[in-house]
Assembly symmetry: D3
């Protein structure tokens, strides 16, 4: 019997949570740790600005405090890894950020990683994170799809734009592995990989896989 | 007539604010921008943990929002630069973190900077910041004084310990410029510099000097 | 039904394989992928020199070719990651090196990793690997236990020496996460972690956990 | 009463000195340190080649020796920071190079700095400087306007070309802060910033602001 | 009397060996060390894949063992430096890889090196080597000619394509020194340099020159 | 018939020139380029400070201008590479600095280089050079012998001190190749290498060997 992995979507969009939940299906095993996805219902509609990050910080702290007695590990399902250092300080259980995990996974699958971001405005923040991680030597580039809400509602248009950005990262920036820089887009992963012929990493999957391993190993000798 | 520089001590310790205020005396000029120091009275007694940083984040946001109509610039007087990215996003005025400014100042005064920290437990956080800044090639080392409150109350003991750590940074780690990794210790700066024969940077002074220049230049053409 | 994970010990020492097999126990689940450990019986008694690495290269190539029809993934159980680029080229299944995986795992558990190596003579080779991975900004140091075969036969002496080296990495080199730079020593992991109060990573566990996640995710949509 | 800041234009072009002098107007305060600009009348018409740099080196040494009894600090007004290490060795007063200061200022205003250079032929020299400073992780790119003397005499053509290069740095190289890689062009700074919507740094202003702070703080306790 | 330098072409293509031999003519002196070129007749037609590298490894080991009694030094004439660490371990004589030597030579001739590669598929491998060498700060880019065997048989077409790629490296990637990323193409070196106006390095020449110096100096005091 | 290599000792100490001349004996071949050593008789007794470097700069410029009609290449025999960028600009012949060449040679002989310096006061300058070269990832450390003139006159005492510093670099800093950070000490090279069991590089030899190869290759096709 394993304690569950909690995957927290820090925005209030239940459709995103559902997309994450569906993406994690392959990591669920009969005899393995349960994987539960949570929506931060009091959170903002999306977590993009520094204000959004600041807003969800205390909420995530409370959520983790409430759940940690019944948790094997936590995954925070936003590519900007909100409150990661804080949550690691207050939690008795391992906490994973999907941004950090996606990058670490990419380092094992190619030599130069490219990031398909939602918005260009977050580049500075992401670069600070890659710099803090010390992995900029492996960074090929980050380019944003810059899609409007209307466009995002059209799966075909969204995929075409992601393919376009992915091709630029692969051909112009010489990335040989791509990261989807956003949660909740897992439905496009296989199509991207099939068309672009390079590995494409969905960050929630990367983080949940890493968390799963940690839960299993933390049971060592128990 | 210049708008004032606000220097915010994010802990509730008024003695620290007084120490900062005194340290900034040399930057006050008859015809120059006023420099006002503020205590975050609702803040914690000290800002050390990630929880402390999270706690002061919304408070600093409110404080800056309230003061920015009458502000030339802001300095956040804690070496961990709490909420810096957030405050830069929400403020119409420049915001400076004393940690970042101290490092930038050090880069102009020596080739390898060493940091006299209060506690070793913050090393990981500081290293992430130096990595995000991309300056680790210039980093000689960081060592902590690890003084108890009782010891900190004894200026002689405090200075002796800071000198001991400073000598290790200079002699073992080959630092040729030192940074005091904490606000409110400016009273020791000159003694450290005189004994150690390398430049010693007090971070509030470094940040306020940089902010002062920005205020003056932002008045350009006005 | 999952295809198994094959963990290959590239030396001929069956006791090492048994140690690896035991260390991977926590990663075995009733409903999960089988984990099979193999000894390269034709390999050398230990893989240390470049000649050892060259000797096992074609053997590993053949072994992987033979097993890949019935494999979900492979782990090569030697910290020097012998033949890793070759095996990734010839295998239709993911191949993981325990050195690379241990470092990636360490990047999520601390800010500066230290490596407890068996021998100092391999430092140059390991540094080339860390450099190729682009992670030297996170490297605290590597120190070798330099134990004789006789000493290694004495678990108490071995642990004491590992603790001594671990303390140097933690206290002198400021590592906040340690990697055991050798396969087959998993029995010491928990004691090291308990005494040293920093995370200690056993590389076969780190690699097998990562491989397990890849197997599960590669079944996505199947 | 403060000792003055001396800003030295190391070429013999008095119009450049006048441009620098005008750019520093906002840093002059009734109660603050005087700022005096000097032309190196015996210097070359422009400082571009290594020969130019070598030629001005002893001249700058003499000038600083003559003025240091009545100096609070010195700024050398050429982006290649001629003789900077020498002048710091011989001067009892702080010496600032506008290239170094502009880069340090940029590090506090964006995550990736781009440089609008006059000529492409100096790129190698500038890269050595950025490398010696250890800041290449923050470097977005450097592109040259390559304007002839005739073109430089036409302010409109000059601005258009600077805007064109600035857009390439911002859009193609993902710079989020720009540095004008030449002294004496301050008149274009505000127009560049207004059109390009990223901070634009004039290096003489950046250096003089930093020097001003140092003069004030060096008076500490006096 | 000097022991000879052996330059080993690790593929079985005697025309490539002849090209190398011809390129080394200028390094042969009446009174200097003989330079002998060898074809690895049992090797593959070309060394491109990891399998090719693995195949030639034991062959190179045997060849060096056989010749070292009568060798001043060895050069391995393939840009991927096959088996370099192994050969250095087993040889009593210095062993040079043309890839490593070409990069070191480039570091003395420009600030940013560009590589004209044969195939894009080797970029990851080359980047790991540059990373292991710690020289990525000096790396401008690598671009592949991607010529078919038919095209390579046409010297004019080959040169035109190399010029095209060289111009991209120089103009788009700002390389100021170029490396030919392949052995046996020395006949194009002078034409490339004449047209592109930047130094162009032929890697076998770079390595043989370095080896020659080592042979001479190793005779010191003899 | 080759044009000679000129090796210039930029200080006025003829004994140093004699030491350099003797060290280059092994590079002289009957049929090879002549190697001529020159003393800068008008130079200072030693080149240590920035003032010394500035003083010799125009002298070296004149010397090279005078000799380049009859020169194959130049080597500047001071570890600080005085005027290197200038001399490369004004000379039609290749110019080598012994500091740069020693580091490049070291990169082919070990993974981490250590430097035995004469004085600790030059560390900042050397670090700027290593940073400009982009090789700090390979830098183990630099330690100074700090010997007085009296001590330097005693070969036994000098060797013992160099061995002491070399052992610290090898054992504490984990250097696996050492560079003698000064010209004119070649007489100690072999003893250091024999005692320390790591390669020890004499910088004049490294530079002259590199220059020799360049002269031979520049005759290509002539």
């Amino acid at each position: 019997m394993y304690l569950p992995l909690w995957v927290i979507n820090p925005n209030s969009n239940a459709a995103v949570t559902a997309g994450i939940d569906s993406a994690l299906g392959p990591l669920r095993m009969a005899g393995g740790p349960p994987i539960n996805c949570l929506t931060l219902t009091e959170g903002p509609a999306a977590v993009q600005s520094q204000q959004d990050l600041a807003q969800v910080t205390p909420m995530l702290g409370r959520l983790i405090s409430e759940h940690q007695a019944n948790a094997g590990a936590f995954v925070i399902g936003c590519f900007s890894d909100p409150a990661l250092a804080l949550l690691r300080e207050i939690s008795r259980r391992p906490v994973f950020g999907i941004g950090e995990c996606a990058v670490l996974d990419a380092l094992s699958r190619g030599q130069r990683f490219g990031v398909i971001a939602m918005q260009g405005s977050v580049l500075g923040r992401h670069l600070r994170t890659y710099g803090a991680m010390g992995v900029l030597q492996r960074f090929a580039g980050e380019r944003a799809v810059e899609l409007s809400m209307t466009q995002l509602a059209d799966p075909h248009a969204t995929l075409q734009r992601m393919l376009q950005v992915g091709r630029q990262l692969r051909d112009d920036d010489q990335a040989d592995v791509l990261i989807m820089g956003c949660a909740g887009m897992a439905a496009y992963r296989q199509a991207l990989e099939r068309e672009l012929h390079v590995p494409v990493i969905e960050p929630c999957q990367a983080a949940a896989a890493m968390a799963l391993g940690r839960i299993l190993l933390n049971g060592e000798g128990a």
